[in-house]
Amino acid sequence: MTLLAGPGIERPAPAATFGAARPVILLRDVTKTYPGGRSALRDVDLTIREGEFVFIVGPSGAGKSTLLKLLIRDEVATEGQVFIDGTDLARLKRREIPKVRRRTGTIFQDFKLLPNRTVWENVAFALEVTGAPRKRIVPDVDRVLALVGLTAQAAQVPTQLSGGEQQRTAIARALVHDPRLIIADEPTGNLDPLISWEIIQLLLRINELGVTVLMATHDAEVVTALRRRVVALEEGRVVRDELGAAYHRED
């Protein structure tokens, strides 16, 4: 498979488009030190505006996962501030955390699906646990399953699905809250290249619908082919933040 074999790749919108949009993610001087003294992030400043598609790249242990965990308030910054949609995550009350998480869809390398529930139930689960009424759940779940192309597989359980279908289920679940932001942690890490492109295509389409996408990845081929904004982390610091960039530094 050649670099540009991925179907339907478009050139990214010029950087200026995002200049005026309001920040969905804003990190100010963020440092995260884990108990025991290991520092995972150091002085990270990052602004991601509405509608952007951003890759976070870097070697293992560079701080990508920590960054994503801060964004879903799974971890709290040791220093500095993290804002999602203008909300300071460190100041959130405990009971407000779930509400912020509902505004962000998360996708993982290992899908994190419930193995003994069907595709439909896995997606509906995300709405049920927020107390949504049944009459809202049914149309919403049907809608996102159609969006990711899994209507036919709705009654199957994850073990009956291919990896790509499982990840699409997870994407449907992430979308069902109508999030403004999708955070994807190595979403293609367990998938073969062709399926990976399918998933990327899906994320691009979601992005076109106006959802901001932040994706941590090791997939150099995808990153380089798409020429989107690339934020590179190394040893907890942002070492590169370029628009229309490749996976590796090109200068």
Binding site: P98, K112, L113, N116, V129, T130, G131, H177
Partner: protein
């Protein structure tokens, strides 16, 4: 509020059946532990009733002079009946005593030689049963001071022996019951914890998709209650099936049934239900809590 409770109960029911193997294991452990606890409680009640029976056998006996008048006897009896320590006081006439003595001999198969006596050598007596066997002093004093009384049996030694034995057995029983109770507590809570731990991923996913703590916690609490309830019901069914042989056994072993068999059945039912459901709920709450606090 109502939709939330309905949601939680439905989710608990699903959770129970979707994790069937774990649920069955937890329910089985719950049942074994409740059987242990219920069984021990029954044994303890039998023991307690047996001890009470033994203690009631302690009596103060006052032997009367052969020339004691009926008035003297009546006065002594009337005094006894007014004492709060006295449970029952019986007058045993000389003839009664002889009859009893003969019956006793016959029961042991020994030859009755009393027929060769010209007179009845046995004294009349007053037998007093006490509410509390250690409360004999006033009774003894009263009888000692009554005219017509020849002598009062020294019950001190007997009471001491009986109460020492019963106290040791009773304390041992309570200590054993507490130990069994603690064991049951830890094993049940641990089993529930194990069941919740096997669902750590589910809890994590719930958190990730933005479930509030209550939405995560309550289905597990109801599920714990369900495990407890099922375990308790199975336990009670087993105990009910064993009730017949059990009471025969108790009658044979402790010589006596607990004073009120009906109240024992009720106590055990309440004990098993409350312990099962209570520990199911507490175990779930504690186990889920450790996943929520982060």
């Amino acid at each position: 509020m109502i939709p939330f409770v309905v949601f939680s109960i439905r989710r608990a029911w699903q959770g129970f059946w979707r994790n069937g193997l774990m649920s069955i294991a937890a329910t089985a452990t719950m049942t074994f532990m409740l059987l242990l606890l219920g069984g021990f409680w029954i044994v303890q009640s039998g023991l307690s009733a047996g001890l009470q029976y033994v203690e009631q056998k302690v009596q103060v006996v006052a032997y009367l002079k052969d020339d004691a008048t009926q008035d003297q006897v009546d006065a002594a009896m009337a005094g006894l009946k007014q004492m709060p320590e006295v449970k029952q006081a019986d007058y045993v006439s000389k003839n009664d005593a002889l009859t009893r003595f003969r019956a006793n001999l016959a029961e042991r198969g020994q030859p009755d030689l009393t027929g060769s006596l010209d007179t009845n050598p046995l004294p009349a007596s007053i037998e007093v049963y006490l509410v509390d066997p250690t409360d004999f002093a006033a009774v003894v004093a009263h009888l000692d001071g009554s005219p017509g009384v020849d002598r009062v049996d020294d019950v001190q030694q007997l009471v001491d022996r009986v109460t020492t034995v019963t106290t040791v057995i009773r304390t041992g029983g309570i200590v054993a019951l507490i130990l069994v109770g603690l064991t049951v507590l830890f094993i049940i809570v641990n089993t529930i914890r194990l069941a919740v731990t096997s669902r750590a991923e589910e809890i994590e996913i719930m958190r990730l998709v933005g479930a509030s703590d209550a939405f995560i916690r309550w289905p597990f609490i109801f599920e714990g209650a369900l495990v407890g309830l099922l375990g308790a019901l199975v336990t009670l069914l087993i105990l009910a099936a064993a009730a017949g042989p059990l009471s025969t056994l108790m009658l044979g072993f402790f010589r006596v049934l607990p004073l009120e068999f009906g109240s024992l059945v009720r106590d055990v039912a309440i004990l098993v239900l409350v312990t099962g459901v209570g520990l199911g709920v507490v175990g779930s709450y504690v186990s889920v809590r450790s996943y929520l606090i982060r």
